[in-house]
Symmetry: C2
Amino acid sequence: MEIKKFLGIDVGGGSVRGSVIDKSGKLYHEDKIQTQIDWKNEEFLQALIGLVDKIIKVQMPDAIGIGTPGPIDMDLGTIIKSANLSSLRNTPVVSSLKEKFNLPVYFNNDANCAALGEYYFGKGKGSSNVIVLTLGTGLGCGWVYNGQIFNGYKGNGMESGHITVIMHGAACGCGKFGCAEAYFSATGLLNRYKDKTGEELKSAEEFFRKVSEKDDNCVKILQFSTDVLAELIRNLIHAVNPQKVIMVGGLTASYNLFEERLVNRVKNIIWPVFKEYTEIMVGEKIAGSYGAAALCFE
Amino acid sequence: MEIKKFLGIDVGGGSVRGSVIDKSGKLYHEDKIQTQIDWKNEEFLQALIGLVDKIIKVQMPDAIGIGTPGPIDMDLGTIIKSANLSSLRNTPVVSSLKEKFNLPVYFNNDANCAALGEYYFGKGKGSSNVIVLTLGTGLGCGWVYNGQIFNGYKGNGMESGHITVIMHGAACGCGKFGCAEAYFSATGLLNRYKDKTGEELKSAEEFFRKVSEKDDNCVKILQFSTDVLAELIRNLIHAVNPQKVIMVGGLTASYNLFEERLVNRVKNIIWPVFKEYTEIMVGEKIAGSYGAAALCFE
């Protein structure tokens, strides 16, 4: 029996990468193009189709999985809009690929693909209850339960960046207040710094550099935001009892600056039964395209 | 083909009730005994077996489902302890019934049984994603997803009373701070009243009577606690996207005193996609024994 191969495509802020892999994670072929952040629908779809075309001439897959920033409409197979690719609007990803290539196409948001990547190829392997938090510009989340990604209603499952941890708290990008994302995300940390000092930092890297240099404001903001992240993890544990809570994304590069406080705090506030059960950890650097390919596995 | 019949037993603070029903909710026989709040393990199990014995002599069921206050250990089939029946400790409910009656026995906590009751016989009928909040002494919760109760790890699924809504907030009975239960439960409301006034009220009924009489402290506490309940519901919606959030339990008798604020507040803070999707409502008064019987349906 021939081993099935799957083309996973990750639409990221820097590049669009396509990888043909099998269920074991063996790579057969890979290619990428640079992301143009001002892509309009047609330009983006043309570039995407060009990339797929090039890849499948070398290695034909049995199905295509694609992960993009969201919000997406899973029912329609469209990107509703995207913070990174701000000229896209209701982009018909699935129908475009299906029409052109006549292959099954699976579609999800990038956080859910990251979760599947960790579940199949990373730290989540073999666990029946895994939550992956993507700590980047925003705070995304995916939940893999009994081997399946939880999509919820139209793909809005586990949007834990917008779980309230401090009622009437800091303003969030979503327009509401006190969401976890308003504290523990690049945007959240920089906004809290601006609240406190009136000054703007250029990036999360700069923020964490200042933490390393013991800048008092940054240290205090990171401590407070870490406590918020701990409460978010508590909430997820008490709601759906994950065995593993895996953090991925850019901010985990600075995990050493908040790990001890985070882990101690979570252990302190969760129910005793979970103290020996739930593990908190940083994930492996699984390519988004592998997670996207995993959309085809089920 | 004979219709299968199930004996559901609800262990409540006032009585232990057993009902033999079928999947349609048709009642074949029913009986109850009074709860003795100082029951020790042996006395409780003897009373329970006596009740079952009496019932099955009239109507033999195909299986037994039993719901009790918790925390319970689903794996062991025991009540770990119970706030209402405070002399019980690691009570072997399942093994005792199985040994005596040689029937399949299904066991869960009372909040999960309440959720199944609403799902099969109440307002949750026909929905694939239902959350039931039990607003009583504490704040319990059950989640019925795709027709199955979510038990999570050892039956600790969806313990949403202990989801943090206000980090570093009011002290909760669980020993931590800012849990939803610390605000919206009989215990929470009375404790918040005591914090504010230094005085103790006898019961939630008294609290709500004072709200009706426009007592300023009670009105303000109820408003604040209602806002907390709204944030909890937001958190549950953003996490697992329920189509219906159904409230049951003693405090819903006073729903008219907080309905408008609650519903408006939830609509205001949830994502637009859920505004037309998720409904919030008070459940029907489904007997706990019906929910317990529903444990046998799967």
